[in-house]
């Protein structure tokens, strides 16, 4: 999820999906929409949203979040976010 956002992929709550617009800021609404279907059909629980935002803030720019979503980097990021949530 973080990799998709870092790659500039829009979501259903992104106001402007144009690739020429600035990438959407990763706020709570973006996290909820991107988590939708993962855990809770209602969106996501508030603590999980906070954990994802916290995890994203700890990512170093230019590190694992770059590259095509679905790549090895994506797996690494997903695993780490999951670890922080679960831990």
């Amino acid at each position: 999820m973080l990799a998709e956002h870092a790659a500039g992929w829009p979501s259903a709550v992104t106001a402007d999906v144009s690739p020429d617009s600035p990438a959407p800021e990763l706020d709570a609404a973006e996290v909820r929409e991107r988590m939708s279907g993962n855990l809770c059909r209602c969106g996501a629980y508030p603590s999980i949203v906070r954990a994802v935002l916290e995890s994203a803030a700890h990512e170093e720019p230019g590190s694992a979040t770059h590259g095509k979503p679905g790549s090895a980097a994506h797996e690494e990021v997903t695993g780490r976010a999951h670890e922080e949530v679960a831990g």
């Binding site: 999820m1 998709e4 790659a7 992929w9 829009p10 979501s11 259903a12 992104t14 402007d16 999906v17 144009s18 690739p19 020429d20 909820r32 929409e33 991107r34 939708s36 279907g37 993962n38 059909r41 209602c42 969106g43 679905g70």
Partner: protein
């Protein structure tokens, strides 16, 4: 779940042959709808032919300045493609509004077109459903139908088509490309889904055994700022109650509008389009256009709210497009 054979094709001709030689064989894309229906006994194919390994993946430029989206492109990849987002934002928005990230990662563009209605009676083999068992009746028309069609339904079936993507494709006058053992063909999206009539089990104009290979988007979008908006019963991960894809030229009134969740197929709002083309683009004109479209609605006893919802949605999205164009 009934036993079935699984075959994987790596060339289009092999896939066509594998389906043609086995009565009741079905193509398998992402399996996000077909496999669920098999688990519930709604679909009972004896053979699945997996088409995900065919060379039909990706988005490419078309000669007319449009785009061609390969049939096995995932919904995620198609929605994220820069040229889809740049030229057909309503299509990207529609795909992003569908299902969840996991499902979009699996679901293919071709499979999305062929997904089945989410009518609860269709999904339940203990209920009467003409779409599932022709001649068995329709439990929805006299039953629970708050999420059913308001246009062009019949006493035989009032189910809606569930796709978001197809609504945007209808607005953009997309064309479906397919292959058969007798050669290739194409069908405009406006003719792809058949009217319900008394044969709700017949859903598309595809010839028997045909495999969708691509969807072509014409190079003539009206404006680069089209919009898809979806109203649903929760904020995410739900099918549309009513949705709209719209493209508007505020100078000429030329518009393309399609509605979702209101008919057995994406509903092209041609009455509204005609009104918009007929006069100056004003807020009053948007209301007249919406009223003209909804004057043809025939709601069931339990879904009249969709008429109001669709009318308001048309006005709201046209207003938004006009405001954006002027800003």
């Amino acid at each position: 779940m009934k036993e079935f054979a699984y075959r994987r094709a790596t060339e289009v001709r092999d896939a066509l042959t594998l389906v043609a030689e086995h009565d009741g064989a079905r193509y398998l894309g992402g399996g996000t709808n077909l496999v669920d229906l098999m688990k519930d006994g709604v679909e009972t194919p004896g053979r699945l032919v997996d088409v995900r390994f065919l060379p039909l993946d990706g988005v490419r430029e078309a000669a007319d300045g449009g785009l061609v989206i390969g049939a096995t492109t995932t919904n995620s990849d198609a929605a994220a493609h820069p040229e889809v987002r740049r030229r057909y934002p309503a299509l990207s928005e529609a795909m992003l509004a569908g299902a969840s990230g996991q499902l979009r990662n699996m679901a293919t563009v071709g499979g999305n077109l062929l997904q089945r209605t989410r009518c609860a009676y269709f999904a339940d083999p203990s209920q009467a459903c003409n779409k599932r068992v022709p001649g068995s009746g329709c439990a929805a028309v006299a039953g629970e139908h708050h999420n059913h069609a308001i246009f062009d339904w019949s006493q035989h079936c009032a189910a809606t088509h569930p796709s978001d993507m197809a609504v945007a494709l209808a607005a953009f006058d997309a064309v479906v490309h397919y292959e058969t053992l007798d050669g290739a063909g194409e069908i405009p999206l406006s003719e792809f889904y058949l009217p319900v009539g008394d044969t709700p089990e017949r859903e598309t104009a595809l010839p028997p055994g045909a495999l969708i290979t691509a969807v072509a988007l014409p190079g003539s979008a009206i404006s680069p700022r089209s919009r898809y908006r979806k109203v649903r019963e929760r904020a995410s991960y739900a099918f549309a109650t009513v949705s709209i894809a719209a493209d508007l030229d505020v100078r000429t009134g030329a518009a393309r509008i399609a509605l979702g969740g209101v008919a057995s197929r994406p509903w092209r709002a041609r009455r509204a389009e005609a009104v918009l083309l007929d006069g100056p683009v004003t807020a009053g004109r948007f209301r007249t256009a919406a009223d003209a479209e909804l004057s043809a609605a025939e709601p069931l006893p339990g879904n009249g709210y969709k008429v109001t919802l669709a009318r308001n949605l048309i006005v709201a999205v046209l207003t938004e497009l006009a405001d954006r164009a002027r800003s």
